[in-house]
Protein backbone atom coordinates (compact mmCIF):
# COMPACT_ATOMS: atom_id res chain seq x y z
CA UNK A 1 0.00 0.00 0.00
CA UNK A 2 1.52 3.32 -0.97
CA UNK A 3 0.19 6.63 0.22
CA UNK A 4 0.10 9.67 -1.99
CA UNK A 5 0.15 13.24 -0.83
CA UNK A 6 -3.60 13.63 -0.77
CA UNK A 7 -3.88 10.56 1.51
CA UNK A 8 -1.31 12.13 3.79
CA UNK A 9 -3.23 15.39 3.92
CA UNK A 10 -6.45 13.60 4.72
CA UNK A 11 -4.88 11.57 7.53
CA UNK A 12 -3.04 14.61 8.86
CA UNK A 13 -6.30 16.49 9.05
CA UNK A 14 -8.04 13.65 10.89
CA UNK A 15 -5.14 13.69 13.36
CA UNK A 16 -5.13 17.50 13.47
CA UNK A 17 -1.52 17.79 12.44
CA UNK A 18 -0.40 20.61 10.19
CA UNK A 19 1.98 19.34 7.53
CA UNK A 20 3.71 21.48 4.92
CA UNK A 21 4.73 20.23 1.48
CA UNK A 22 8.17 18.98 2.56
CA UNK A 23 6.71 17.11 5.51
CA UNK A 24 3.98 15.67 3.34
CA UNK A 25 6.56 14.22 0.98
CA UNK A 26 8.64 12.84 3.87
CA UNK A 27 5.62 11.35 5.56
CA UNK A 28 4.37 9.85 2.35
CA UNK A 29 7.70 8.08 1.95
CA UNK A 30 7.98 6.99 5.60
CA UNK A 31 4.39 5.79 5.86
CA UNK A 32 4.64 3.86 2.65
CA UNK A 33 7.70 2.06 4.01
CA UNK A 34 6.04 1.40 7.36
CA UNK A 35 2.93 0.08 5.68
CA UNK A 36 5.18 -2.12 3.56
CA UNK A 37 6.31 -3.74 6.80
CA UNK A 38 2.75 -3.90 8.06
CA UNK A 39 1.55 -5.55 4.86
CA UNK A 40 3.54 -8.66 5.78
CA UNK A 41 0.57 -9.44 8.04
CA UNK A 42 -1.26 -10.59 4.93
CA UNK A 43 0.88 -13.71 4.82
CA UNK A 44 -1.13 -15.37 7.54
CA UNK A 45 -4.64 -16.66 7.14
CA UNK A 46 -6.60 -15.43 10.14
CA UNK A 47 -10.04 -16.61 9.14
CA UNK A 48 -11.84 -17.96 12.17
CA UNK A 49 -9.41 -16.31 14.59
CA UNK A 50 -11.00 -14.17 17.29
CA UNK A 51 -9.53 -10.66 17.54
CA UNK A 52 -7.67 -10.08 20.80
CA UNK A 53 -8.19 -6.59 22.10
CA UNK A 54 -6.48 -7.10 25.38
CA UNK A 55 -3.94 -9.34 27.06
CA UNK A 56 -6.00 -9.67 30.22
CA UNK A 57 -8.79 -12.19 30.21
CA UNK A 58 -10.75 -10.34 32.83
CA UNK A 59 -14.10 -8.57 32.95
CA UNK A 60 -14.42 -4.87 33.72
CA UNK A 61 -14.42 -4.14 37.42
CA UNK A 62 -17.19 -1.83 38.58
CA UNK A 63 -16.74 1.08 40.95
CA UNK A 64 -19.30 2.00 43.63
CA UNK A 65 -21.24 5.16 42.86
CA UNK A 66 -19.57 7.26 45.56
CA UNK A 67 -18.05 10.73 45.22
CA UNK A 68 -14.29 10.50 45.74
CA UNK A 69 -13.00 13.54 43.85
CA UNK A 70 -12.64 17.06 45.17
CA UNK A 71 -12.49 20.42 43.43
CA UNK A 72 -9.02 20.80 41.87
CA UNK A 73 -9.84 23.72 39.64
CA UNK A 74 -7.29 26.20 40.95
CA UNK A 75 -4.48 23.68 40.83
CA UNK A 76 -5.19 22.36 37.35
CA UNK A 77 -5.93 25.75 35.83
CA UNK A 78 -2.50 26.97 36.88
CA UNK A 79 -1.10 24.75 34.14
CA UNK A 80 -3.76 25.70 31.58
CA UNK A 81 -2.62 27.70 28.54
CA UNK A 82 -5.67 29.98 28.79
CA UNK A 83 -8.27 30.05 31.53
CA UNK A 84 -10.46 32.79 32.92
CA UNK A 85 -13.32 32.88 35.40
CA UNK A 86 -12.87 29.16 35.85
CA UNK A 87 -13.34 28.43 32.14
CA UNK A 88 -10.84 27.13 29.62
CA UNK A 89 -10.64 29.49 26.67
CA UNK A 90 -10.40 28.50 23.02
CA UNK A 91 -10.84 30.47 19.79
CA UNK A 92 -14.49 31.07 19.08
CA UNK A 93 -16.39 27.94 18.15
CA UNK A 94 -18.85 28.52 15.32
CA UNK A 95 -21.88 26.23 15.21
Amino acid sequence: MSLDQSDIKKIAHLARLAVDETETAELSDALTRILGLVDTMEQVDTSGVEPMAHPLHMAQRMREDVVTETNLRDKVQQIAPAAENGLYLVPKVIE
Binding site: L31, L37, V38, M41, V44, A53, P55, V76, I79
Partner: protein, 483 residues
Protein backbone atom coordinates in the same frame (compact mmCIF):
# COMPACT_ATOMS: atom_id res chain seq x y z
CA UNK B 1 28.62 4.04 47.89
CA UNK B 2 27.39 3.95 44.32
CA UNK B 3 28.99 0.58 43.61
CA UNK B 4 26.59 -0.98 46.08
CA UNK B 5 23.41 -2.69 44.97
CA UNK B 6 20.13 -1.61 46.52
CA UNK B 7 20.18 -4.53 48.92
CA UNK B 8 23.71 -3.60 50.00
CA UNK B 9 22.71 0.05 50.38
CA UNK B 10 19.73 -0.94 52.46
CA UNK B 11 22.02 -2.95 54.72
CA UNK B 12 24.53 -0.10 54.99
CA UNK B 13 21.78 2.41 55.84
CA UNK B 14 20.42 0.02 58.42
CA UNK B 15 23.87 -0.40 59.92
CA UNK B 16 24.30 3.38 60.07
CA UNK B 17 27.37 3.35 57.82
CA UNK B 18 25.98 6.45 56.18
CA UNK B 19 22.72 8.35 56.13
CA UNK B 20 20.25 8.68 53.31
CA UNK B 21 21.11 12.39 53.13
CA UNK B 22 24.77 11.50 52.57
CA UNK B 23 23.89 8.85 50.05
CA UNK B 24 21.51 11.15 48.19
CA UNK B 25 24.06 13.94 48.14
CA UNK B 26 26.60 11.49 46.75
CA UNK B 27 24.32 10.61 43.83
CA UNK B 28 23.45 14.27 43.25
CA UNK B 29 27.18 15.04 43.07
CA UNK B 30 27.71 12.22 40.60
CA UNK B 31 24.85 13.49 38.44
CA UNK B 32 26.31 17.00 38.52
CA UNK B 33 29.74 15.82 37.46
CA UNK B 34 28.93 12.97 35.09
CA UNK B 35 25.54 13.47 33.52
CA UNK B 36 26.64 16.29 31.26
CA UNK B 37 28.07 13.73 28.85
CA UNK B 38 25.35 11.12 29.33
CA UNK B 39 22.21 13.31 29.46
CA UNK B 40 20.25 10.68 31.33
CA UNK B 41 18.20 13.14 33.37
CA UNK B 42 15.70 15.70 32.11
CA UNK B 43 14.99 17.08 35.56
CA UNK B 44 17.01 16.71 38.75
CA UNK B 45 15.27 17.67 41.99
CA UNK B 46 18.04 18.15 44.56
CA UNK B 47 16.06 20.04 47.21
CA UNK B 48 13.11 17.68 47.13
CA UNK B 49 15.46 14.69 47.10
CA UNK B 50 17.40 15.89 50.13
CA UNK B 51 14.18 16.69 51.94
CA UNK B 52 12.89 13.17 51.26
CA UNK B 53 16.26 11.76 52.35
CA UNK B 54 16.14 13.72 55.59
CA UNK B 55 12.63 12.46 56.20
CA UNK B 56 13.79 8.92 55.48
CA UNK B 57 16.58 9.26 58.00
CA UNK B 58 14.09 10.54 60.57
CA UNK B 59 11.72 7.70 59.90
CA UNK B 60 14.57 5.27 60.25
CA UNK B 61 15.47 6.82 63.60
CA UNK B 62 11.90 6.17 64.69
CA UNK B 63 12.10 2.59 63.52
CA UNK B 64 9.75 3.02 60.56
CA UNK B 65 11.68 1.33 57.81
CA UNK B 66 11.01 -0.55 54.63
CA UNK B 67 13.77 -2.07 52.50
CA UNK B 68 13.57 1.01 50.26
CA UNK B 69 13.68 3.67 52.95
CA UNK B 70 16.24 6.29 51.97
CA UNK B 71 17.21 4.62 48.67
CA UNK B 72 17.72 7.23 45.89
CA UNK B 73 15.85 6.36 42.72
CA UNK B 74 15.25 7.95 39.31
CA UNK B 75 11.89 7.91 37.55
CA UNK B 76 11.39 7.84 33.82
CA UNK B 77 9.81 11.17 32.87
CA UNK B 78 6.63 9.38 31.85
CA UNK B 79 5.48 8.92 35.45
CA UNK B 80 3.45 11.83 36.77
CA UNK B 81 5.05 13.46 39.81
CA UNK B 82 2.96 15.97 41.73
CA UNK B 83 4.43 19.45 41.46
CA UNK B 84 7.37 18.29 39.33
CA UNK B 85 7.70 18.73 35.58
CA UNK B 86 6.59 15.60 33.76
CA UNK B 87 7.55 16.06 30.12
CA UNK B 88 7.51 12.65 28.44
CA UNK B 89 10.55 14.14 26.68
CA UNK B 90 8.18 16.12 24.50
CA UNK B 91 8.01 19.79 23.71
CA UNK B 92 4.27 19.25 24.13
CA UNK B 93 4.72 18.75 27.87
CA UNK B 94 7.82 20.90 28.39
CA UNK B 95 5.67 23.24 30.50
CA UNK B 96 3.65 20.51 32.20
CA UNK B 97 3.82 20.24 35.97
CA UNK B 98 1.84 17.16 36.86
CA UNK B 99 -0.96 17.85 39.35
CA UNK B 100 -0.79 14.37 40.90
CA UNK B 101 1.44 11.38 41.57
CA UNK B 102 1.35 8.19 39.56
CA UNK B 103 0.35 5.25 41.74
CA UNK B 104 3.83 3.69 41.62
CA UNK B 105 5.45 7.03 42.47
CA UNK B 106 3.15 7.34 45.46
CA UNK B 107 3.84 3.78 46.59
CA UNK B 108 7.59 4.29 46.42
CA UNK B 109 7.30 7.62 48.25
CA UNK B 110 5.19 5.95 50.93
CA UNK B 111 7.88 3.30 51.28
CA UNK B 112 10.39 6.06 51.98
CA UNK B 113 12.29 5.97 48.70
CA UNK B 114 14.00 9.17 47.54
CA UNK B 115 13.39 10.62 44.07
CA UNK B 116 16.53 12.13 42.54
CA UNK B 117 14.81 13.32 39.39
CA UNK B 118 13.19 12.38 36.10
CA UNK B 119 15.02 10.54 33.39
CA UNK B 120 15.31 11.10 29.69
CA UNK B 121 13.47 8.88 27.24
CA UNK B 122 12.20 8.70 23.70
CA UNK B 123 9.34 11.15 23.29
CA UNK B 124 6.14 9.53 24.63
CA UNK B 125 8.14 6.28 24.87
CA UNK B 126 8.20 5.98 21.09
CA UNK B 127 11.61 4.81 20.03
CA UNK B 128 14.34 2.25 20.53
CA UNK B 129 17.36 4.51 20.79
CA UNK B 130 16.50 7.55 22.91
CA UNK B 131 17.27 9.75 19.94
CA UNK B 132 13.65 10.94 19.84
CA UNK B 133 13.85 13.23 22.85
CA UNK B 134 13.09 16.93 22.90
CA UNK B 135 15.94 17.13 25.42
CA UNK B 136 18.54 15.50 23.19
CA UNK B 137 19.72 11.93 22.91
CA UNK B 138 21.13 9.93 25.79
CA UNK B 139 24.67 8.59 25.44
CA UNK B 140 25.43 5.01 26.34
CA UNK B 141 27.86 5.09 29.29
CA UNK B 142 29.76 2.13 27.77
CA UNK B 143 30.45 4.03 24.56
CA UNK B 144 29.21 7.56 24.39
CA UNK B 145 28.92 7.45 20.61
CA UNK B 146 26.32 4.75 20.94
CA UNK B 147 22.68 4.80 21.91
CA UNK B 148 21.56 3.46 25.28
CA UNK B 149 18.48 1.94 23.67
CA UNK B 150 14.97 3.14 24.26
CA UNK B 151 12.58 4.20 25.14
CA UNK B 152 13.72 4.00 28.80
CA UNK B 153 17.25 4.99 27.74
CA UNK B 154 17.73 7.63 30.42
CA UNK B 155 16.81 5.26 33.25
CA UNK B 156 19.05 2.55 31.77
CA UNK B 157 22.02 4.89 31.35
CA UNK B 158 21.53 6.36 34.82
CA UNK B 159 21.58 2.91 36.42
CA UNK B 160 24.54 1.76 34.30
CA UNK B 161 26.54 4.87 35.22
CA UNK B 162 25.40 4.54 38.84
CA UNK B 163 23.72 7.95 38.80
CA UNK B 164 20.96 6.43 40.92
CA UNK B 165 20.59 3.24 42.91
CA UNK B 166 17.83 1.99 40.62
CA UNK B 167 15.23 3.46 38.28
CA UNK B 168 11.75 3.07 36.87
CA UNK B 169 11.08 2.36 33.23
CA UNK B 170 8.13 1.46 31.10
CA UNK B 171 7.95 -1.20 28.42
CA UNK B 172 5.49 -1.17 25.52
CA UNK B 173 7.49 -3.21 23.02
CA UNK B 174 10.79 -3.71 24.78
CA UNK B 175 11.44 -0.28 26.28
CA UNK B 176 12.76 -1.68 29.57
CA UNK B 177 14.49 -4.82 28.26
CA UNK B 178 16.22 -3.43 25.18
CA UNK B 179 17.92 -0.47 26.94
CA UNK B 180 18.74 -2.78 29.86
CA UNK B 181 20.48 -5.06 27.36
CA UNK B 182 22.33 -2.19 25.70
CA UNK B 183 23.60 -0.78 29.01
CA UNK B 184 24.37 -3.98 30.90
CA UNK B 185 21.72 -3.72 33.58
CA UNK B 186 18.80 -5.80 34.81
CA UNK B 187 15.25 -4.84 33.86
CA UNK B 188 11.92 -6.57 34.20
CA UNK B 189 8.66 -5.87 32.43
CA UNK B 190 6.03 -7.45 34.66
CA UNK B 191 2.88 -9.19 33.47
CA UNK B 192 0.38 -6.71 31.99
CA UNK B 193 -1.79 -5.64 34.93
CA UNK B 194 0.80 -6.40 37.60
CA UNK B 195 1.89 -2.76 38.07
CA UNK B 196 -0.64 0.08 38.01
CA UNK B 197 -0.65 2.25 34.90
CA UNK B 198 -2.38 5.11 36.70
CA UNK B 199 -0.28 8.21 36.26
CA UNK B 200 2.00 6.55 33.74
CA UNK B 201 1.45 8.60 30.58
CA UNK B 202 -0.05 6.28 28.01
CA UNK B 203 1.59 5.31 24.74
CA UNK B 204 -0.31 2.10 23.92
CA UNK B 205 -2.68 1.20 26.72
CA UNK B 206 -3.00 -2.52 26.07
CA UNK B 207 0.77 -2.96 25.94
CA UNK B 208 2.30 -0.47 28.41
CA UNK B 209 3.67 -1.78 31.66
CA UNK B 210 5.97 -0.15 34.18
CA UNK B 211 8.83 -1.96 35.84
CA UNK B 212 12.12 -1.62 37.69
CA UNK B 213 15.55 -1.19 36.09
CA UNK B 214 18.39 -2.00 38.43
CA UNK B 215 21.86 -3.37 38.80
CA UNK B 216 20.70 -6.84 39.82
CA UNK B 217 17.71 -9.15 39.89
CA UNK B 218 17.62 -8.91 43.64
CA UNK B 219 17.33 -5.12 43.43
CA UNK B 220 14.61 -5.42 40.81
CA UNK B 221 12.74 -7.80 43.14
CA UNK B 222 12.97 -5.30 45.99
CA UNK B 223 11.51 -2.52 43.85
CA UNK B 224 8.83 -4.72 42.36
CA UNK B 225 7.69 -5.69 45.85
CA UNK B 226 6.65 -2.07 46.38
CA UNK B 227 5.50 -1.27 42.84
CA UNK B 228 3.27 -4.27 42.17
CA UNK B 229 -0.31 -4.70 43.26
CA UNK B 230 -3.90 -3.89 42.66
CA UNK B 231 -4.91 -0.28 42.05
CA UNK B 232 -8.56 0.67 42.08
CA UNK B 233 -7.82 3.58 39.75
CA UNK B 234 -6.70 1.27 36.94
CA UNK B 235 -9.38 -0.97 35.42
CA UNK B 236 -6.67 -3.12 33.88
CA UNK B 237 -4.89 -3.67 37.17
CA UNK B 238 -4.93 -7.32 38.19
CA UNK B 239 -6.42 -8.16 41.55
CA UNK B 240 -3.90 -10.93 42.19
CA UNK B 241 -1.92 -11.44 45.36
CA UNK B 242 1.62 -10.07 45.24
CA UNK B 243 4.20 -12.55 46.51
CA UNK B 244 7.43 -11.43 48.19
CA UNK B 245 9.65 -11.41 45.12
CA UNK B 246 12.78 -11.68 47.22
CA UNK B 247 11.59 -14.86 48.93
CA UNK B 248 12.25 -17.32 46.09
CA UNK B 249 15.47 -15.82 44.74
CA UNK B 250 17.59 -18.64 46.03
CA UNK B 251 15.45 -21.54 44.86
CA UNK B 252 17.37 -24.23 43.04
CA UNK B 253 17.09 -24.37 39.27
CA UNK B 254 17.53 -28.12 39.19
CA UNK B 255 15.03 -29.46 36.65
CA UNK B 256 14.01 -26.02 35.39
CA UNK B 257 12.71 -26.35 31.83
CA UNK B 258 14.08 -23.66 29.55
CA UNK B 259 12.79 -23.23 25.99
CA UNK B 260 14.86 -21.60 23.28
CA UNK B 261 12.64 -20.40 20.44
CA UNK B 262 14.36 -21.26 17.21
CA UNK B 263 12.97 -18.07 15.65
CA UNK B 264 15.01 -16.02 18.17
CA UNK B 265 18.23 -17.53 16.89
CA UNK B 266 17.77 -16.97 13.17
CA UNK B 267 20.01 -15.30 10.61
CA UNK B 268 19.15 -11.82 11.89
CA UNK B 269 21.05 -12.49 15.12
CA UNK B 270 24.59 -11.16 15.36
CA UNK B 271 27.00 -14.12 15.71
CA UNK B 272 28.83 -12.66 18.68
CA UNK B 273 25.60 -11.91 20.49
CA UNK B 274 24.50 -15.46 19.76
CA UNK B 275 27.72 -16.81 21.26
CA UNK B 276 27.24 -14.71 24.37
CA UNK B 277 23.66 -15.92 24.79
CA UNK B 278 24.68 -19.55 24.26
CA UNK B 279 27.40 -19.15 26.86
CA UNK B 280 24.75 -17.88 29.28
CA UNK B 281 22.52 -20.85 28.49
CA UNK B 282 25.43 -23.11 29.40
CA UNK B 283 25.50 -21.53 32.84
CA UNK B 284 21.90 -22.67 33.26
CA UNK B 285 22.76 -26.10 31.99
CA UNK B 286 25.39 -26.28 34.69
CA UNK B 287 22.80 -25.21 37.25
CA UNK B 288 20.73 -28.26 36.37
CA UNK B 289 18.23 -26.77 33.93
CA UNK B 290 16.88 -28.76 30.99
CA UNK B 291 17.24 -26.90 27.73
CA UNK B 292 15.05 -27.59 24.72
CA UNK B 293 14.27 -25.94 21.44
CA UNK B 294 10.76 -24.56 21.03
CA UNK B 295 8.97 -22.61 18.32
CA UNK B 296 7.08 -19.32 18.25
CA UNK B 297 6.03 -19.56 14.58
CA UNK B 298 4.47 -16.10 14.27
CA UNK B 299 7.56 -14.24 15.50
CA UNK B 300 8.25 -12.82 12.05
CA UNK B 301 4.90 -11.01 12.13
CA UNK B 302 5.19 -9.67 15.64
CA UNK B 303 6.82 -6.39 14.66
CA UNK B 304 4.26 -5.58 11.97
CA UNK B 305 1.39 -6.53 14.25
CA UNK B 306 2.87 -4.54 17.08
CA UNK B 307 3.22 -1.38 15.01
CA UNK B 308 -0.42 -1.54 14.00
CA UNK B 309 -1.79 -2.12 17.49
CA UNK B 310 0.57 0.26 19.29
CA UNK B 311 0.14 3.07 16.79
CA UNK B 312 -3.62 2.74 16.64
CA UNK B 313 -3.79 3.11 20.40
CA UNK B 314 -1.23 5.92 20.44
CA UNK B 315 -3.07 7.92 17.79
CA UNK B 316 -6.08 8.01 20.10
CA UNK B 317 -4.16 8.35 23.38
CA UNK B 318 -2.35 11.42 22.09
CA UNK B 319 -5.50 13.23 20.96
CA UNK B 320 -5.81 14.80 24.41
CA UNK B 321 -2.79 17.00 23.65
CA UNK B 322 -4.78 19.70 21.93
CA UNK B 323 -3.50 22.91 23.48
CA UNK B 324 -6.68 23.49 25.48
CA UNK B 325 -6.23 22.33 29.07
CA UNK B 326 -2.50 21.72 29.48
CA UNK B 327 0.69 21.44 27.49
CA UNK B 328 1.94 23.36 24.52
CA UNK B 329 -0.31 25.87 22.79
CA UNK B 330 0.74 27.68 19.65
CA UNK B 331 0.95 31.48 19.65
CA UNK B 332 -2.07 33.46 18.45
CA UNK B 333 -4.26 30.72 17.02
CA UNK B 334 -6.39 32.10 14.19
CA UNK B 335 -9.23 29.71 14.91
CA UNK B 336 -9.92 26.37 16.54
CA UNK B 337 -8.48 24.25 13.72
CA UNK B 338 -5.35 26.35 13.74
CA UNK B 339 -5.05 25.94 17.50
CA UNK B 340 -5.23 22.16 17.18
CA UNK B 341 -3.03 21.74 14.15
CA UNK B 342 -0.27 24.12 15.08
CA UNK B 343 -0.15 23.23 18.77
CA UNK B 344 0.13 19.56 17.92
CA UNK B 345 2.57 19.98 15.05
CA UNK B 346 4.84 22.21 17.11
CA UNK B 347 4.49 20.10 20.23
CA UNK B 348 5.16 16.64 18.80
CA UNK B 349 8.44 15.43 17.30
CA UNK B 350 8.72 13.62 13.97
CA UNK B 351 8.58 10.04 15.19
CA UNK B 352 5.52 10.75 17.30
CA UNK B 353 3.82 12.38 14.32
CA UNK B 354 4.68 9.43 12.08
CA UNK B 355 3.14 7.02 14.55
CA UNK B 356 0.02 9.11 15.06
CA UNK B 357 -0.36 9.19 11.28
CA UNK B 358 0.06 5.42 10.91
CA UNK B 359 -2.34 4.80 13.80
CA UNK B 360 -4.93 7.18 12.39
CA UNK B 361 -4.66 5.49 9.02
CA UNK B 362 -5.06 1.90 10.25
CA UNK B 363 -8.22 2.85 12.16
CA UNK B 364 -9.76 4.92 9.39
CA UNK B 365 -12.83 3.94 7.43
CA UNK B 366 -12.05 1.31 4.84
CA UNK B 367 -8.77 0.18 6.44
CA UNK B 368 -9.86 -0.95 9.89
CA UNK B 369 -10.47 -4.56 8.92
CA UNK B 370 -7.37 -4.96 6.80
CA UNK B 371 -5.07 -3.46 9.40
CA UNK B 372 -6.40 -3.06 12.90
CA UNK B 373 -8.69 -6.08 13.02
CA UNK B 374 -6.16 -8.22 11.20
CA UNK B 375 -3.53 -7.21 13.74
CA UNK B 376 -5.87 -8.09 16.61
CA UNK B 377 -6.32 -11.54 15.15
CA UNK B 378 -2.59 -11.99 14.68
CA UNK B 379 -2.16 -10.86 18.24
CA UNK B 380 -4.27 -13.81 19.24
CA UNK B 381 -2.09 -16.18 17.23
CA UNK B 382 1.09 -14.69 18.69
CA UNK B 383 -0.34 -15.06 22.17
CA UNK B 384 -1.38 -18.66 21.50
CA UNK B 385 2.17 -19.47 20.38
CA UNK B 386 3.37 -18.64 23.88
CA UNK B 387 0.59 -20.56 25.61
CA UNK B 388 1.56 -23.66 23.70
CA UNK B 389 5.23 -23.29 24.56
CA UNK B 390 4.45 -22.77 28.25
CA UNK B 391 2.78 -26.17 28.31
CA UNK B 392 6.23 -27.69 27.99
CA UNK B 393 8.69 -25.20 29.49
CA UNK B 394 8.92 -22.93 32.54
CA UNK B 395 10.91 -20.09 31.02
CA UNK B 396 11.68 -18.99 27.48
CA UNK B 397 15.18 -17.65 26.87
CA UNK B 398 16.96 -15.92 24.04
CA UNK B 399 18.72 -12.73 23.11
CA UNK B 400 17.03 -9.46 24.09
CA UNK B 401 18.26 -7.75 20.92
CA UNK B 402 19.80 -8.97 17.65
CA UNK B 403 22.88 -6.75 18.09
CA UNK B 404 24.67 -4.74 20.73
CA UNK B 405 24.06 -0.99 21.00
CA UNK B 406 24.26 0.74 17.65
CA UNK B 407 25.76 4.14 16.93
CA UNK B 408 23.88 7.37 17.45
CA UNK B 409 22.44 8.40 14.10
CA UNK B 410 22.93 4.97 12.53
CA UNK B 411 19.25 4.11 12.12
CA UNK B 412 17.66 7.47 12.56
CA UNK B 413 16.68 7.81 8.90
CA UNK B 414 15.23 4.35 8.58
CA UNK B 415 12.27 3.84 10.88
CA UNK B 416 11.65 0.32 9.62
CA UNK B 417 15.19 -0.85 10.41
CA UNK B 418 14.77 0.70 13.86
CA UNK B 419 11.47 -1.08 14.39
CA UNK B 420 12.95 -4.43 13.36
CA UNK B 421 15.51 -4.19 16.14
CA UNK B 422 12.56 -4.85 18.51
CA UNK B 423 11.90 -8.25 16.94
CA UNK B 424 12.61 -10.31 20.07
CA UNK B 425 10.85 -8.09 22.56
CA UNK B 426 7.50 -6.99 21.10
CA UNK B 427 5.74 -10.36 21.14
CA UNK B 428 5.98 -10.54 24.91
CA UNK B 429 3.96 -7.30 25.17
CA UNK B 430 1.44 -8.52 22.63
CA UNK B 431 0.74 -11.50 24.86
CA UNK B 432 1.01 -9.50 28.09
CA UNK B 433 3.65 -11.86 29.51
CA UNK B 434 6.44 -10.86 31.91
CA UNK B 435 9.87 -10.43 30.32
CA UNK B 436 13.27 -9.66 31.67
CA UNK B 437 16.73 -8.80 30.43
CA UNK B 438 19.95 -9.47 32.35
CA UNK B 439 23.54 -8.88 31.32
CA UNK B 440 25.40 -11.74 29.61
CA UNK B 441 29.04 -11.65 28.52
CA UNK B 442 29.82 -8.41 26.66
CA UNK B 443 30.85 -8.36 23.04
CA UNK B 444 33.70 -6.02 22.12
CA UNK B 445 33.21 -4.14 25.35
CA UNK B 446 29.51 -3.66 24.77
CA UNK B 447 26.84 -5.27 26.95
CA UNK B 448 24.63 -8.11 25.74
CA UNK B 449 21.21 -8.88 27.16
CA UNK B 450 19.88 -12.33 27.93
CA UNK B 451 16.11 -12.21 27.67
CA UNK B 452 13.80 -14.45 29.63
CA UNK B 453 10.06 -14.61 29.26
CA UNK B 454 7.85 -16.20 31.90
CA UNK B 455 4.28 -17.29 32.16
CA UNK B 456 1.56 -14.90 33.40
CA UNK B 457 2.26 -13.57 36.92
CA UNK B 458 5.39 -15.72 37.15
CA UNK B 459 7.70 -12.80 37.94
CA UNK B 460 8.99 -14.55 41.06
CA UNK B 461 10.34 -17.37 38.94
CA UNK B 462 11.97 -15.01 36.44
CA UNK B 463 13.66 -13.14 39.26
CA UNK B 464 14.81 -16.41 40.81
CA UNK B 465 16.20 -17.62 37.47
CA UNK B 466 17.95 -14.30 36.91
CA UNK B 467 19.33 -14.13 40.44
CA UNK B 468 20.82 -17.61 40.22
CA UNK B 469 22.64 -16.59 37.05
CA UNK B 470 23.96 -13.52 38.81
CA UNK B 471 25.28 -15.72 41.63
CA UNK B 472 27.41 -17.48 39.02
CA UNK B 473 28.50 -14.49 36.92
CA UNK B 474 29.56 -10.92 37.58
CA UNK B 475 28.52 -9.25 34.34
CA UNK B 476 25.94 -7.30 36.29
CA UNK B 477 28.69 -6.04 38.60
CA UNK B 478 30.73 -4.56 35.77
CA UNK B 479 30.65 -0.84 35.31
CA UNK B 480 31.54 1.27 32.30
CA UNK B 481 34.94 2.93 32.39
CA UNK B 482 35.05 6.59 33.28
CA UNK B 483 32.13 6.56 35.70
Amino acid sequence: MHTHTVSELAAALAAGEFSSVELTQHYLDRIASLDGEINSYITVTPEAALAQAKQADERRAQGEVTPLTGIPLAYKDIFCTDGVKTSCASRMLDNFTAPYNATVVQRLADAGAVMLGKTNMDEYAMGSSNENSYYGCVHNPWDKERVPGGSSGGSAAAVAARLCAAALGTDTGGSIRQPAAFTGITGIKPTYGRVSRYGMIAFASSLDQGGPMAASAEDAAMLLNTMAGFDERDSTSANEAVPDYTADLNNSLQGLRIGLPKEYFDEGLDVDVRASVEQAINVYRALGAEIKEVSLPNTNLAVATYYVVANAECSSNLSRYDGVRFGHRCDDPANLEDLYERSRSEGFGNEVKRRIMVGTYVLSAGYYDAYYLKAQKLRHLISDDFSKVFEEVDVIMGPTTPTTAFKIGEKVDDPVAMYLSDVYTVACNMAGLPGMSIPAAPVNGLPVGLQMIGNYFDEARLLNVAHQFQQQTDWHRQMPAGV
